[in-house]
Structure formats: structure tokens, C-alpha cells
């Protein structure tokens, strides 16, 4: 089992914004797990429901994410 979550695509379940801890749900080991999330671009706000891609893992259950753009999806 590979314990990598980078480049996984998921969805925001708790608003990601400056000053708060967001939450995203991404595929993990055959199921889905919720991870604490911060924006990769500091200061960006990502609303609930937005598709994101995980950029970097910064803790056991904390990732930095960015909004998934159309060109990244294809």
C-alpha cells in the first residue's frame, strides 16, 4: 500500500480560508478519508464543494490543496 496522497483529486467538505482549518475528502487506500487542508496559495479561499488537487502533504492528516482547473483535469 502506497501512503501517498499527492496529486489525488478530491472535494472540499469544510471551507478552506485564511485563519481556519479546512477539510477535504480524497481517495485513500481504496476508500475515502477526510484530511485537514490549507490552501497552497496562502490567502486563497476555497468554498465547500469545489474540486481540488492535493499539492503537498504537511502532516499525518494535513495537506495543502489547490483548486482544480480545467487544464489540470484533462
Amino acid at each position: 500500500m502506497i501512503d501517498h496522497v499527492e496529486s489525488e483529486i478530491g472535494r472540499v467538505t469544510g471551507r478552506v480560508a485564511p485563519g481556519v482549518v479546512g477539510e477535504v475528502r480524497i481517495p485513500y487506500k481504496g476508500g475515502t478519508e477526510t484530511f485537514h487542508a490549507y490552501a497552497w496559495d496562502a490567502g486563497e479561499t476555497i468554498e465547500v464543494g469545489t474540486e481540488i488537487v492535493v499539492i503537498e502533504r504537511v502532516g499525518p492528516r494535513t495537506v495543502k490543496v489547490a483548486v482544480l482547473r480545467e487544464e489540470e483535469q484533462s
Partner: protein
């Protein structure tokens, strides 16, 4: 030989049994809800190994599969991944300062990523479940207090997303350090000693109560209206019924009265008919008497009157005819007289005319004779003048004219003398006759003018005599 083979077989069987037993004791399999943490010599399991630093002994983690554990050299511990819950009861104030007493429950489990399992294992492994629950309870009571202090009462009651966000914001770091994951935080009960929540509801309750009272009042009004309308309809029905009954009764009374009156009425009508007939008889009687009167009195009087009128008319006619005859007679007599006078006058006129004409002819002849004499005389004078003029070389035409002009009245007067003999000149042609007569006079006078001129020119100077003066 046979015994040797048997011994070998038994030994092999024992060895196989021992081997299987050894494998059985060394191979440990993790259940789905637990993690095996294997520590000891050589227990470093690739990507599943814990992320310890240099001072932290590394260990092998197996989740959901088996691992070989070498007895004596390695130890294996199980870490349950089951969800657990911790009951919380805190007393705090909201961000508005409202005191609340909250009872909640937090559901958590050891995270199932290897790093969380490692963190949890290093803290809780070997402790009993009670220890983990106590720790989580203590930690989370403090967090819940701070979470609630950042929310308003309305958010606590209604805004789950905000509650979850605050929970993550205040406890995420600590939970990761403990290797725990919060699945859910539920506020089960909010006790509100200050009555804030019931006051929140008061406006809505008042509105609902108002609506209820309005609805009741309207319903009551509608019901009353319907009742009154129904009562009015009922009363109207009763009135209509009474009216109809009265009408029927009136009709019946009328019919009965008419029936009662029928006898006397017929009698009266019969009497009336009798009177009518009697009147007719009286009328006929009067007519008969009038006719008699006409025959006896009026007719003879009229005949008498007519006879007298006829006599008067005849007499008048007679008188008229007499007058006409008289007038005719007078008229005829007058006509005869007139005719006779007219004829006599005409005869007299004709006689007078003839007399005049004869006299005129005589006078004219006399005049002409005198004129001729005068002319001859004048001719002689003229010849005298002409000869005188010739003798005096040139005689002016003007002198002639002047002489002639001087002599003209004398000539005319001489001509007029021819008419002097006529006593009674009757002019027959009226004005025309008058002018004719004047013309005749002028002709007589002027008719000699050329002759005079001729005389003056030719032989005026022959005799040298002047025209005679009057």
C-alpha cells in the same frame, strides 16, 4: 531396514509438524479494525515503517494483513482502530456572554494512516482503553469550551458547518499529534439558564399566536355571516310562504265574493237590459213623433215658403228683363243718334276741306303769280347788280351774300303774303300738316333764292336797281 524407514518417516512428520507450529506462532495477522505494531530487531517495514527520528526506535506497522514475527527477537502489540466516544459536559459562555451548559459527545478513532498509527502507538500503546478516553475527554472539554466561546447562541443551535469548522480550527494540530481523528462532534443538549433560547422563540410564538387568533376571529366571523344568512333565508322563506298563503286566500275570497255577487249582478244586469230596451223604445217613440211633426207642420210651411220665394224670384227676373230691354233700346237709340251726328260731321268736314282746298289753290296761284312778278323784278335788279359789279370790275361773293341776306326776309315775307288771302285754314294732317304748311311758305320764299342769286350774278348791274324795300 523397515524400522529405519518408519523412524525417518516419523521424524519427518514431527519436523513438518514442528515447522507448521513454528510458522503458526511466528505469522501474525492483523484484523481489519486493528493495527499490529512490531518492534524489535530488524522490524523496519519499508513504507509502512514509522517515521521516527534517529533517537526514536523504528517499528513495523501492519494494517489489514499478516507479518512474520520472530519470537524472542521481536514483539507485537495490537492497536485497536475502532471508533470511540467520549461524553462531554461543559459550562461556558457564548460570544454574546450568555451562560450555557452544554452536553455533547465526540466520536474519534485512531487515524488509519501509518503516521497517525505511529503517533498513537507511541502515546497510548500498552495503556488501557480507559486512559485514552480520559485523555481525550480532558483535552476535548477544554477545546469545546473555547469553541463555544467563539460562537453565538444562534450558531450553536443552527450552524453545524461553523461548529465543525471551529472544532477543526482549535483541535486539528493536537489531534494529529495524538494520532487521533475526530469523526464527529455533536452537541446533544444546550441548557440555557438565562432563558435566551425561549426569548428567541418569543417573537415567533407571538406571531403564531396572532395568526391563530386572527384565523379564529375570521372563522368566527365567516361562521356568523353564514348563520345570519341562513337565518335570513329561513325568515324569507317563511315570509314567502305566508305571502303565498295570503295570495291564495285572497284569490279564494275573491272567487267566493264573485260567486256570492253573481246572483244580484245577474239580476242587476237583467234590469239594466230592461232599462236599455225601454230607453230604445222611448227613442223610437220620439223619432216617430218628430217624423209626424215634420209631416204635419214643417213640410207645409216649407212648401209655402218655397212658393213665395219662387214668386219673388220670378218677379225679380221679370224686372231685370224689363230693365235690360229698356237699356238695349236706349243704347240702340243713342247709337243711331251718334251715327247720324258722325255722318253729318263728316259731311260738313268734307265740305269745309273742299272749300279750304279751293281757297288754298286760289291763294297759291295768286302767290305764285306775285312771286313770279317779284322774281321777274328781282331778275331785272340782279342783272342790274351783276352788270354793276362787272362794271365795278370785281364784285365780291361776300357782297352778294350780304345783299342776299339783307334781302332774304323780304323774300320770305313776300312768299308769306300768298297765305294772307286764306281766311280759314283747316289743317287736316295735324302737326304734320302744320309743318307742311310752314315748309310750303319757306319753299315759296326760298324757291326764289337760286333765281335771285342767278339774277344777282348775271344781270345785277344791268339795270342798277336795288331790290324794293318794304
Amino acid at each position: 531396514m523397515i524400522t529405519t524407514l518408519i523412524v525417518v518417516a516419523v521424524v519427518v512428520a514431527i519436523l513438518v509438524g514442528l515447522g507448521a507450529l513454528l510458522i503458526k506462532t511466528m505469522w501474525r495477522v492483523a484484523e481489519p479494525n486493528e493495527a499490529l505494531v512490531i518492534s524489535g530487531a530488524g522490524a523496519v517495514g519499508g513504507e509502512l515503517s514509522g517515521q521516527g527520528d534517529a533517537e526514536t526506535p523504528t517499528y513495523k506497522i501492519a494494517v489489514g494483513k499478516g507479518a512474520l514475527v520472530i519470537p524472542g527477537l521481536q514483539t507485537v502489540r495490537k492497536l485497536s482502530l475502532n471508533a470511540r466516544k467520549a461524553d462531554l459536559a461543559v459550562q461556558t459562555v457564548t460570544s454574546q456572554g450568555v451562560p450555557v451548559s452544554v452536553r455533547g459527545v465526540v466520536v474519534y478513532k485512531v487515524g488509519n494512516t501509518p503516521r497517525e498509527i505511529a503517533n498513537a502507538a507511541s502515546r497510548f500503546l500498552g495503556e488501557d482503553v480507559q486512559t485514552m478516553e480520559t485523555t481525550v475527554h480532558e483535552v476535548f472539554s477544554g477545546h469545546l469550551r473555547s469553541i463555544l466561546g467563539g460562537l453565538t447562541m444562534e450558531e450553536i443551535i443552527r450552524d453545524r458547518a461553523r461548529l465543525a469548522s471551529e472544532t477543526r480550527g482549535s483541535s486539528a494540530e493536537e489531534m494529529e499529534t495524538l494520532g487521533l481523528k475526530i469523526d464527529s462532534l455533536q452537541i446533544q443538549e444546550v441548557d440555557d439558564p438565562s432563558g435566551y433560547i425561549s426569548n428567541l422563540a418569543a417573537p415567533h410564538q407571538a406571531a403564531v399566536e396572532r395568526d391563530a387568533r386572527i384565523a379564529a376571529a375570521e372563522a368566527n366571523r365567516a361562521a356568523t355571516e353564514k348563520e345570519q344568512a341562513a337565518a335570513a333565508a329561513a325568515a324569507k322563506a317563511v315570509a314567502d310562504s305566508e305571502i303565498a298563503q295570503s295570495q291564495v286566500k285572497a284569490q279564494a275570497d275573491t272567487a267566493r265574493s264573485q260567486a256570492e255577487q253573481a246572483g244580484p249582478l245577474a239580476q242587476a244586469q237583467a234590469q239594466k237590459q230592461v232599462v236599455v230596451e225601454q230607453t230604445e223604445v222611448a227613442k223610437l217613440e220620439a223619432a216617430r213623433r218628430e217624423m209626424e211633426l215634420q209631416t204635419e207642420t214643417v213640410k207645409p210651411a216649407e212648401a209655402d215658403r218655397d212658393a213665395r220665394i219662387a214668386a219673388a224670384e220670378a218677379k225679380a227676373r221679370e224686372t231685370e228683363l224689363e230693365a235690360a230691354a229698356t237699356a238695349k233700346k236706349v243704347e240702340i237709340e243713342a247709337g243711331a243718334n251718334a251715327k247720324r251726328v258722325e255722318i253729318e260731321a263728316a259731311a260738313q268736314a268734307r265740305a269745309t276741306e273742299q272749300t279750304g282746298l279751293a281757297k288754298a289753290a286760289a291763294t297759291r296761284a295768286t302767290g305764285e303769280a306775285e312771286a313770279a312778278a317779284t322774281a321777274a323784278k328781282l331778275t331785272a335788279e340782279a342783272e342790274g347788280i351783276e352788270k354793276r359789279a362787272a362794271a365795278l370790275e370785281k364784285n365780291n361773293e361776300a357782297v352778294i351774300a350780304q345783299t342776299l341776306a339783307e334781302q332774304a326776309p323780304d323774300l320770305v315775307r313776300a312768299a308769306a303774303e300768298s297765305f294772307r288771302g286764306i281766311d280759314n285754314l283747316t289743317v287736316l294732317n295735324g302737326a304734320e300738316g302744320m309743318s307742311g304748311m310752314a315748309g310750303e311758305v319757306m319753299k315759296l320764299g326760298l324757291g326764289v333764292m337760286p333765281l335771285v342769286q342767278q339774277v344777282l350774278r348775271n344781270g345785277g348791274g344791268n339795270n342798277g336797281e336795288k331790290p324794293p324795300d318794304d
